[in-house]
Structures are given as C-alpha cells and as structure tokens.
C-alpha cells in the first residue's frame, strides 16, 4: 500500500489554488513580518531569476491588460465602418428617393421655364417683328438685338416661371435653388473618394436644411446633428465601407500583444517553478541539516509526526504558495491597477460606477465570512471529535469487538457525523455562496455599465467598442479582487507554516564539539562514571552521584522493570544526552573532550527496537561501517548466524527490506542488527537482550550470536537472561528512572532489596506467598 504517509495531516489542501475559499478561517503567524523577511531571504540566491520573473510578469500582464482595449478598437473601427456604411446606404437611398420626389418639381419647373421662355421669346420676336415694317430684312445686327431681347425675355420669363412654380410649390427662390442643387448632386454611393463622399454628404446635409420641410419624403436625413457629424467623420474615414484593412491591422496588433503576453507569462511561470522549488529545496535541506545537529532531547520531546509535518507538509505548502500565489499576487495587483487605468482611459464616469461596487464586494465577503466562521469552527471541532473517536476505536478494535461495543461505537460516531454534517454543509454553503454573490455584484456593475454606457453612446460620449472593451475590463476586474483576497489568506497561512519551519531552525543545537578533540587510537573499553549527575528535567534529578568503574572486558547488567529508564545509561554513554555534573571517562579520557562521532565509533549497539531502513540487507548490515566490503559483510552476517537465512531469501543479500521491514521476521531483524554491530567491531557493546518477540530457535541463534559478539569487549547489557545477569561483574538495578542498587548478584541477594524481590518473584513464581 502506498499511503504510508497518510498519517500526516493533509492540511495543505485548503491552501494553494483558487479553490481555497475566502470563508475559511486562517491560521495566523505569531511574528508575521519577521517570518516574511526571513522567507524572502531564502529567495535571495534566486534574485536574478526572480527579477526576470518579475519583469516578465509585469510585461506579460501589461500586454494582457492592453488586449481588451485593442479589441475594443477593432470593434470601434467596425462600428465606424458600419455606421458610415449604413449612413451612406441610407443617404443614397434617400437621395434617390428625394430625386424622384424632386423630379416632378424640376420637370414642372423645366417645362414651365421652357414654356415661359418659348412664349416670351415668341412674344418678343412677334413684338419686335411687329415694330419693324413688314418685309424688312433682318439684319444680323437686328437679329442679334432680337436674340438679345429674346434671351432677356426668356430669362425674365424663366425667372417669372420659376417664381410662379415656387409660389405654386410654396417655396422661396433660394429653396428652389437648393432643390436644384441637391438634385444635381451625384449619388453618394458612386463617389470614389471618401473625402468627396464626406463633402457631398455634408453639402447634402446643409442643403437639406434649406429644403422645404413640408415637401417631406426628401427631408430624409432626419438624424440629429451630432450623429450626422459622426457619420460624416466616419464616412470620411472609411469611405462608407467596413474598413477591413484597418480592422485586420488592429486585430494583428492584438494578436501580437496576446502572443507576447502569453510567451512572457509562460516564461514567468516556467522560471518561477525553478525558483520556487529550488528555494523550497534549500529550506528542506536546511531543516534536515538542522535535525542532524539537534540534541536527542528535541526528538524525545517532539513526536515524529510533528517533526515530519514541519519538514514535509509545511514546506510543501510554502512550495505551492511560492509556485502559484506569488506570481498570482503580482499579476492580480498589476491587473487591478491596470484595469482601473484602462477603464479610466475609456470612461472615468463608468469607472466610477465600477469602483462603487468595490466596497460592496468587501462588505459582502466580510459579512459572509463572519457568518461562516461559526460553522467552520464547528466543523473543525466535530471533525476533531470524529477523528479522535475513530482513532480510539480503531486502535482498540479488538477490545471493541471483545466487549461487543460495536453498536455503541457506531452510535457515537453517527452522532459526531451528524453534527459534522450540520455545521459542515452550512460552512460549505456560506463559503459556496461567496462566488455567486461576487458574480451577482459583478453582474449589477455590468448592468449599470450597459445602461449608462448605452446612454453615453447615444450622447456620443462613447463608442460601442469602448463599451465592449470596458465591459471586458469590469468583468475581469472581479478576478484579481477575489484572487488578492484569497492570496492574502494563503500567504498568511503560509507564513504560519514558514514560522513553524523556522522554529525548528532556531532550536538549540548540540553543544559544540571540543576544539582540540582527542582520539583514542587503541580503545580498550575502560569506562568510568565519576560522580555523574543527570536529569532529563531540571526539577527531577534522576542520577545524583553515580560512580561506576567498568574494566575492559567486564559486563554490566542493567535490570529493572519495563519503563525503569534503562535507556538513560545508553543516552549518557553515547552522549545522546549531556551529563550535568561529574564526568564519564573512556580509557581515562573524558568523553566530553572527544568529538561525538569519535566517541560513538567506540560503541556498538544492538537494541530491542531493531531499526533497519528501506534498503537491501547488504546495505543494512553495511551500515555498521562505512566502506565495508561484501566479504566483510558476509563474514559479519555469518558470525551473527544470519548468513544462512539471508541466503535462503530469494534475492539473498540484495533482498530489499520493505518500508516496515515486514518481509523478514522480528528475530531475523535482530540477527541483522547483531551483524551490523559485529561489522562495526566496537570496543564497547551496548546490548538489549530482550527476545520477547522471537521464536525459540531464532532465540537460541541470537543468544549464540550475542555471546560471540560480547566476547572480549566491555558490555553494557539490558539483561533479561538470568545467566547474563549472574555472570555480570556489575548489576545496576533501575527503577523509576534512577539506579537504586548496584553490585554483583551475590551482594545484591544478600542485601535483600529490590533486586532480591525481583529475582524471587520472577523465578519463584509458584511461591506466591513468598512474593506477597
């Protein structure tokens, strides 16, 4: 099964990504600022990369911010073209219609004029001819005169006729002239040059003003002046066609902007992943290095789970935050500013409307968050209860079954489960409502922008493309708001995580190694405790004044009930813990004057808690001495009576011990640890004899292996076997953490104290009266 680390809380879940809702209560750091600066210091080695990330983030976001505006421009161009086009087609249609309408008038006028002028000419001619004697030849001069008179008469007649027509059509002279001029304008549709087209439209517009109103139909262009102006300028710009070239141009610019921004943001993310992970890697390494320097006191006073959680979960949360939230925050802030600026450039008034929604967001989220707080707390509490109950019931599964308490257990569980559901769904509901509410507020903003923007467009203060762009900005505007709110929370809990990690880094380390350390070249194993004083806690002295002289080759048996603190001596010998007073000497050398590693090299250890690691058997035995050859390892295994069983395993020495080392038996593990100790060939051996979990045959093997190992060394044995105890030169009797008796078997038996009691009760089990 691969979930060996499930035990660790999965607290990082609520962290990264936009999934983390704002409603969740946030864990806060004790010293936010200090921790933040310290975290920033970790980013220092990556500052070149980080500044590139920053630059690309800024540039990428700027281009990103620009694109809606550019697309708005494309739409503006389209709108302009559209307006111009429809204007032109309208105008041209109306122009045609108007010409049709004016046709009659013009025709009438022409007929009237022709008729009038013909009549006038005829009249003049008749009249002139009448004044002349009949038959008078008409001299060219005369003819000219006549013609002149005719023209004059015709002009006057035309004038008159015109006047008459005008009078008839209820028009004054200038109007009639306008009508004529209008009539004679070319159809706008057919004009090639956009300027001429615009000019024509403009002329048409000004002419149309002079046209008589009642003669409607032609007072076609009844658009407002301002619109007409827009239309004319649009026409001048576009020539009454959709300006595909211009649109394409803008769109290409947009494509370029988008492409640049995408590439930049990609580079940003790409680089950031290295920055974030390398930073976190440094952090993990520092913690691990630190753990190596911490005294055992630290490990004994903190649970493995707690330490694990700091090195893995907390660091992982930091990694997620650095990876995602940091760049997100930069982008969100830039976007916030950028969007506001862009909106301002489009329309300050609409921006004002959008910004009004901001406090509504804040109030709404704050209200919802406050309302949900209670349920989140409840959820946390009931989940805690439920987990507690589950843990208890599962560790006590056998008992629950043995005493038939399954029903009660399920009942309690269901109770917690129900409570958890009640507060859980409410908390979820409230935090789930956050998004719709935000969306709603955003929609209200949208509606107002649509309405006011629409009105602004009708007033020609804005263009349609502007509104479309503005709407895109205002809609995207909510994203960075939500993100910033979210990220602030994430950053807060991340800082809290970082603080926990830094706490580890700030723990007191083991006392420094001596500057001029001494090394024992040929250790013999003469160990002396000289007025040793020690306690784990200051107020509870454990060892007050211990004196012990162990000659090379001696065996010291440590006896006492379970939990009597037999491992304390091991702790002191190996300097896992430092003594408070007195000294321990090894071959006359104070152990404090040696480097810890040199001191520990003198010892070999076989503990009941057979610690092996996830690796091959060979690696595990080889752990005893760095650089041991295969032959040496096999020899050690052989001496430990382990060679045989190792060879019977399918992969022999290359068999990989699984995570819990369950693929070999407890006794076999013990043999491996003995082989490991044999390989290290120490001067002094520390042995835990407990064989409680080993079968008889293996036990015999172990006994023999241990005996072989102990030979010729100084031994400290946590003894269970009577033979060991009685053969020991010194017996240390321990109870409640301290040494209460000391001496050899006979001395202690004579004394009739605790040891004698212990001895009698164990081995004279049948004689209950004696023991009582």
């Amino acid at each position: 099964m691969s979930e060996k680390n499930e035990k660790q809380e999965n607290q990082s879940m609520g962290g990264g990504g936009p999934g983390g809702s704002i409603g969740h209560p946030v864990e806060k750091a004790k010293n936010f600022k200090g921790t933040l600066f310290r975290l920033i210091r970790y980013l220092r080695p990556h500052r070149t990369r980080l500044s590139i990330v920053l630059v690309f983030a800024i540039l990428g976001t700027i281009f990103q911010i620009l694109t809606p505006k550019i697309s708005g421009q494309a739409i503006n161009k389209l709108t302009d073209g559209f307006i111009a086009k429809s204007a032109v087609s309208n105008i041209s249609k109306e122009q045609t219609k108007a010409r049709e309408n004016l046709q009659q008038l013009i025709n009438g006028l022409t007929t009237a004029k022709t008729q009038a002028s013909d009549a006038a000419e005829k009249a003049v001619e008749t009249q002139m001819k009448a004044t002349l004697p009949a038959g008078t030849p008409i001299s060219p001069a005369l003819q000219e005169k006549i013609d002149q008179a005719k023209t004059q008469a015709s002009a006057t007649a035309e004038q008159k006729a015109e006047e008459a027509v005008a009078e008839k059509a209820n028009m004054n002279e200038s109007q009639l002239k306008a009508v004529q001029e209008f009539y004679n304008l070319p159809n706008v549709k057919d004009i090639k040059s956009s300027n001429k087209m615009a000019d024509t439209v403009k002329k048409m517009e000004s002419l149309s003003k002079q046209l008589p109103q009642h003669n409607s139909g032609k007072s076609n262009i009844n658009v407002k002046e301002s619109d007409m102006k827009t239309a004319i300028s649009d026409i001048r710009e576009t020539g009454g066609k959709i300006p595909f070239d211009a649109i394409l141009h803008v769109l290409l610019i947009m494509l370029a902007a988008v492409a640049i921004s995408s590439v930049f943001l990609f580079i940003m993310q790409f680089l950031m992943s290295t920055v974030a992970q390398k930073t976190v890697y440094d952090m993990r390494r520092d913690v691990d290095k630190k753990l190596a320097k911490l005294p055992l006191k630290y490990f004994d006073s903190h649970t493995n789970g707690e330490i694990l959680s700091r090195v893995t979960n907390d660091v992982d949360t930091i990694s997620t935050t650095l990876q995602q939230s940091l760049t997100q925050l930069i982008q969100a802030i830039l976007q916030l500013i950028g969007f506001i600026i862009m909106m301002l450039t489009i329309s300050p008034a609409l921006t004002g409307i959008t910004l009004i929604t901001l406090p509504i967001y804040i109030i709404a989220t704050a209200l919802i968050a406050r309302a949900s707080q209670k349920y989140f707390a409840g959820q946390q509490k009931y989940l805690g209860n439920l987990t507690g109950h589950t843990e208890e019931m599962f560790t006590g599964h056998q008992i629950v079954k043995a005493f038939g308490h399954e029903k009660e257990s399920v009942e309690i569980f269901e109770g917690y489960n129900k409570e958890l559901f009640q507060s859980g769904w409410k908390a979820q509901f409230l935090s789930g409502v956050m998004f719709p509410v935000m969306n709603f507020i955003s929609n209200i903003g949208y509606v107002f922008i649509a309405v006011f923007g629409g009105i602004f467009v009708t007033k020609s203060w804005l263009n349609i493309g502007d509104i479309v762009a503005f709407i895109q900005y205002s809609r995207q505007f909510t994203m960075p708001i939500i993100q910033t709110a979210n990220i602030t929370n994430i950053i807060q809990s991340t800082i809290a995580c970082a603080e926990r990690v830094f706490e580890v880094l700030d723990e007191d380390e083991e006392s420094a190694e001596p500057e001029n350390s001494l090394v024992l070249e040929k250790p013999e194993g003469h160990v002396v405790f000289d007025h040793v004083q020690f306690s784990y806690r200051e107020d509870e002295p454990l060892i007050r004044d211990m004196n012990l002289n162990v000659q090379p080759g001696d065996t010291v048996a440590i006896v006492g009930p379970t939990g009597a603190g037999k491992s304390t001596l091991v702790n002191l010998l190996m300097r896992f813990y430092e003594i408070q007073d007195g000294k321990i000497t090894f071959d006359g050398m104070n152990t404090k004057d040696m480097r810890r590693s040199d001191l520990r090299r003198l010892f070999g250890m076989v503990l009941q808690d057979t610690w092996l690691f996830n690796g091959t058997i060979e690696e595990n035995i080889g752990y005893g001495r760095e650089g041991a050859t295969h032959e040496e390892i096999v020899r050690a295994a052989d001496a430990a009576r382990a060679d045989h069983f190792i060879r019977s395993l399918p992969d022999g020495y290359n068999t990989v011990l699984n995570e819990e080392a369950t693929n070999i038996s407890q006794g076999q593990k013990q043999l491996l640890t003995i082989a490991r100790a044999i390989l290290s060939d120490p001067a002094v051996l520390i042995l835990d004899e407990a064989t409680s979990s080993v079968d008889t045959r293996t036990e015999l093997l172990i006994q023999h292996a241990m005996a072989a190992l102990m030979k010729g060394r100084t031994n400290f044995v946590i003894a269970h076997r009577l033979s060991t105890i009685r053969d020991a030169q010194t017996i240390l009797v321990m109870n409640h953490g301290s040494i209460i008796e000391q001496g050899n078997h006979d001395e202690l038996m004579k004394k009739g104290g605790f040891y004698a009691d212990l001895y009698n009760s164990q081995f004279m089990g049948a004689n209950l009266d004696d023991a009582g």
Partner: protein, 575 residues
C-alpha cells in the same frame, strides 16, 4: 472515483436540480450580453434611452434570477457534497466495525483512520469543487453555443473549432501533468519515509555515525522531488498562456468573421459584442475548471483507498438462525482446530485440540510465532477457524451470535488499550450496569486500586488519549480489571502480564485465582513463572500442540517445554 459517487444515488433528484439550477444561472450570465446587444442594436442605434433603461431593468431581473439559482444550487450542492462525505464516513466506519481482525490487520489501524477521516474530506472537497466550479464550464459552453447559435448560426462555427481545441489543449496538458502530480505524491512519500526512518532510528544513526549518509539519502529524495515538481510546474506553466492565447484567438476570429457578417448585413454589432462575451465567459469557466484538475489526482487516490475498504466482504457474519443464547459453565473445547492467516503459506495452528474446564487455569506457552495469540484470538471469533471447531458448552461458536459469544468472554489483550473517559467508564466497558462496588473490587483484584487511589480524582480520573498518563503496567492492570468487571464464564489473558513487574504479576495471579474460581481461565504467556502453577499447560510449537500437562509432567515429557524453561531459568531454579 466513480464507485464512490455511486453513493450519491439517493441524491439524484438533488443533482438534477443542481445541474438545472446551475444551467439556468449560467444562462442568465450569458443572457446579459444578449440583452446588452439589444441595448446596442435598439437602444443605441435608435437612440432610445427609455429602451436602454427598460433593458437595464430587465438585466437586473435576469441577474437576480441568476443569483437566486446560484444560491439555491450552492445550498443543495453543499448538502449533497457534505452529505456524500457523511454517507461515506458512516459506511466506512460501520464497515470497519464489522471487520474481523483479519480484515482489520490487512489494512492496519492508522491507514483506516486516515481513510475514514482525511481521505473522505478530500473526496468531499473535490466534490464541492466539481459541483461549484467544474460543472459550470461544460454548461457554460453548452449555453453559450445555444445562445450564439440564436444570434448567428454560421459564426457559431468558430465555437465548433475553438471549443474542441480548448478541450484538446486542456486534455493534452492534463494528461501529462496529472501522472506527474501522482509521481510528486510518491516522491513526497519517499521523503516522508526517509525522514521517518531518520527520526525513528536517530539513535542508531548517531551511534553508527551515519549522519552524512542519511543526509545524502534525504538530499537524493529531496532533489528527486524538486526536479519532478519543477517538471510538472513547467508543464502547468503552459496552461494559462495557451488558454489565454486561445481565448484571444477566438475573439480575433469572432471580430474578423463577424465583421464580414456585419458587412453583408447578416449580423449586427450588438450580437457581435454578445458573441465576444460568450466566448470569454466560456473560457473563464474552462480556466477555472482546469485549475481544479490539480486536485483530482489526490481525491482519486483517496477514493480508491476508501473503495478498497468498502469492497471488503466481512467474512465473519452471524448465523442466520443462531443457537439460542445459552449460558452454561464455560466449558471450552478446541477440536482439531486449524487456522491459517490470509495468504500465509503455513498454517498458524494445526490440529489443536484441548479442553479447558471451569474452575481451572489453562496456560498456553510457546515461542513467538508458535500460535499462542492466534489461539486466544480464535476464541472470541476474531478470526474463523479453517478446520475443526471451537465449542463452548458443546455449541460451535459459529452457531452463536457474535454478541452472545463475546458476552461470555472476558478478554484481556496483549496490548492494554483504554479509551478516553474516566477510569470508571473504562471499567464499565466490561459491563455497563456494574456498580461502583464491583468496579472497586475488580480494581483491587487487578492490583490497580493502589495507584487509582493515589490519583486525585480516583476512579473518576479522566484518562486522556486512552491513558497517556499511565504506565504500561498500570494500563494492563486496568485492562484486566475491565475483564473482571464483566464476570464472564471464560477469561482469556493474552500475554497480559508482560508489562507487570514480577512482584505485581505474582500478586495479581494470587488474587485472581480466588476471583475466577468458577470460571474457565486461559492464560497465554511467555514467562515460565507465569504458567508454572497452571492446572494445565499447553505447549505450542509452530502451531501444533507439543505437549499438554502440568509443569512437572511436561518437564519430563516435553522437549520444547524444557527448552523454553531452560532459556529462562538456570539449572538451579529447575532443581
């Protein structure tokens, strides 16, 4: 994951409602640009301010419907997703409570706890995300296409190109990233493993001066994790930019082709702007959805673990027509009992037969792996025998209900386990209606009254976290007292004196012998001293009975027994 979601069966109407509500909500989101396009076309183009205001009112109404639907969907959604968690939790807990020890050991307690709590929280969280966020993306796409189609069918073709491209891009990135995310999880596990080994083996590591070696090991794991993380994040770095590019390309296409449509008069500008907004709404939802994908691998793993537990068929069930509850004297008989642990090659017990009578003490001794504890665990039917039968007062225990069977047994396990609660509560675990006097008496017999008396609140002392404040021996004595309170016909002590010092052990056994005069007592032990005085000693060796008899007899006849004894006592004591 799907298997887990089968538990939503009861919620099908709710889920349908959620889908409908979210769809309506999504449609309202999409409908706003549609109304907006009317504002553009009719209001702006025709200069009709009152129309604009009217449409604005309409839009507010639509937005109102939207939030109403969204809130309702959230209400139902949170009840469904949290309800799913609740159902799963209840199911898995009930299931585990049914587990025999075999099934239980198959998993182990710590992983079962995680499966019941964390894993289900994971599933729950992702379900919330699916309902709240991920469901919106496809629904928005569908709604967007519908509305777009109504505006302009041929321009909708852009969606037909862009949306599959979107799906492909997301799929392409995710199919690469998700396996890596899984890998990351594995590497995290590896770091955890190395670190845990470092913590549990700290003394060994320091004793053998292998700190540097361990640092290297950790560094390798850490490096490995770092590079995988970098790789997966570099892949993920593609996601947003590519989606952005796609979104804008879609917009560009809409504007460009829209322009030609506008030119021919088949599309108006309002509709075009609506189109653009549909596209961006669809995209925003897709981005949201793809960001949620990261959470799925974790939930998937969690779901698999939960399903694994739920799919176990409990092998020990009560008989359909159980023997009527009998209370006899507690004659316990093993008839040719064989037992084999799941998947084990060798039998743990083979052909074990013996009879334990009321008023007598039967001791079982043998080395580790000889099957002592197994034998003890068979009596309350924690496991079922493979062959043969176990009889209590002549009735096969498989013919009784588990409740009835266990009510007749006082079981004291190897590892003393107490529960949170007062000492009294813990004693009453043995028998709910035990009086205070009975409890005190039991404690006295179990040699627990002294230290309980020393406690500030005596029998009302609260044991935090199952007796964290007690020593192993104290816990063991309370655990014995608990069995005594039960006053059962059969006592089973599974190596329950191991944490007691020799003196207490002896005293306790003396007191016990008075208490258990009429009961059948079965003691599993390691120490010869503990069993020497028994009426009957059963010597187990590799799952078979190597000898039955009194100490003296066995010393003469049983080689294995002699071996055990001699490993503990020296020649003198044997004499």
């Amino acid at each position: 994951m799907l298997k887990v979601y089968r538990n939503l069966k009861g919620y099908i109407p709710h889920i349908c409602a959620i889908v409908v509500l979210i769809f309506i909500q999504v449609l309202t989101d999409l409908y706003l640009p549609t109304l907006m396009s009317d504002i553009v076309n009719t209001g702006i183009m025709k200069n009709d301010v009152s129309f604009i205001i009217h449409e604005g009112g309409l839009m507010l109404g639509v937005a109102g419907i939207g939030i109403a639907c969204a809130i309702l969907a959230s209400l139902i959604g949170s009840r469904v997703s949290i309800g799913l968690g609740s159902i799963l939790r209840s199911k898995i807990f009930r299931q585990i409570e049914r587990f025999s020890l075999r099934e239980f050991d198959q998993f182990g307690s710590s992983t079962l706890v995680t499966r019941t709590t964390n894993d289900i929280v994971q599933i729950q969280t992702v379900t919330v995300l699916i309902i709240n966020m991920m469901l919106r993306a496809p629904l928005t796409a569908i709604g967007g296409i519908i509305l777009a189609y109504r505006q302009d069918s041929s321009l909708t073709l852009i969606f037909a190109v862009a949306l599959p491209a979107l799906v492909i891009v997301v799929a392409l990135i995710m199919t690469r990233a998700i396996p890596l995310f899984k890998k990351v999880q594995g590497k995290l596990d590896k770091i955890n493993l190395v670190l845990r080994e470092n913590l549990t083996g700290i003394r060994v590591i320091r004793a053998f001066n292998r700190i540097n070696h361990e640092e290297k090991r950790f560094d390798t794991a850490s490096n490995d994790l770092t590079s995988t993380y970098i790789r997966v994040n570099q892949i993920m770095a593609f996601l947003m930019p590519v989606l952005m590019l796609l979104m804008n390309a879609m917009q560009i296409a809409i504007i460009w082709f829209g322009s030609t449509r506008v030119d021919t008069g088949s599309l108006n500008i309002g509709a075009l702007s609506a189109f653009i907004q549909y596209a961006s709404l669809i995209l925003i939802n897709f981005i949201m959805m793809s960001m949620m994908f990261i959470f799925i691998p974790r939930a998937q793993a969690a779901a698999e673990r939960v399903t694994e537990v739920l799919e176990v068929k409990p092998d020990i069930v009560d008989p359909e027509s159980p023997q009527k509850s009998v209370t006899g004297n507690g004659y316990l008989e093993f008839r040719n009992v064989s037992f084999r642990y799941n998947g084990a090659e060798r039998s743990a017990l083979t052909g074990v037969s013996f009879l334990a009578k009321p008023g007598e003490t039967t001791a079982i001794i043998g080395s580790t792996g000889s099957g002592k504890s197994t034998l003890a665990n068979l009596i309350p039917r924690f496991y079922d025998v493979e062959n043969g039968e176990i009889l209590i007062d002549g009735v096969d225990i498989r013919k009784m209900t588990q409740e009835n069977l266990r009510s007749r047994i006082g079981f004291v396990p190897q590892k003393a386990i107490l529960f949170t609660g007062t000492i009294k509560d813990n004693m009453r675990y043995g028998r709910e209606n035990a009086t205070d006097e009975e409890i005190i008496h039991a404690a006295q017999v179990a040699q627990a009254s002294d230290f309980v008396g020393e406690m500030k609140n005596g029998y009302d002392t609260l044991l935090s976290e199952g007796g964290l404040n007690l020593s192993g021996g104290q816990k063991q004595r309370l655990s014995i007292a608990r069995a005594l309170v039960r006053r059962p016909e059969i006592y089973v002590f599974d190596d329950s004196f191991s944490a007691l010092d020799f003196k207490t052990d002896a005293k306790l056994r003396a007191a016990l012998s008075n208490e258990t005069e009429n009961s059948t007592v079965l003691i599993v032990a390691q120490r010869v001293g503990t069993v020497m005085s028994a009426d009957r000693i059963i010597v187990l060796d590799e799952g078979t009975v190597a000898g039955i008899g009194k100490h003296e007899e066995l010393m003469k006849t049983c080689e294995v027994y002699r071996e055990i004894v001699s490993s503990q006592l020296s020649e003198e004591e044997l004499a």
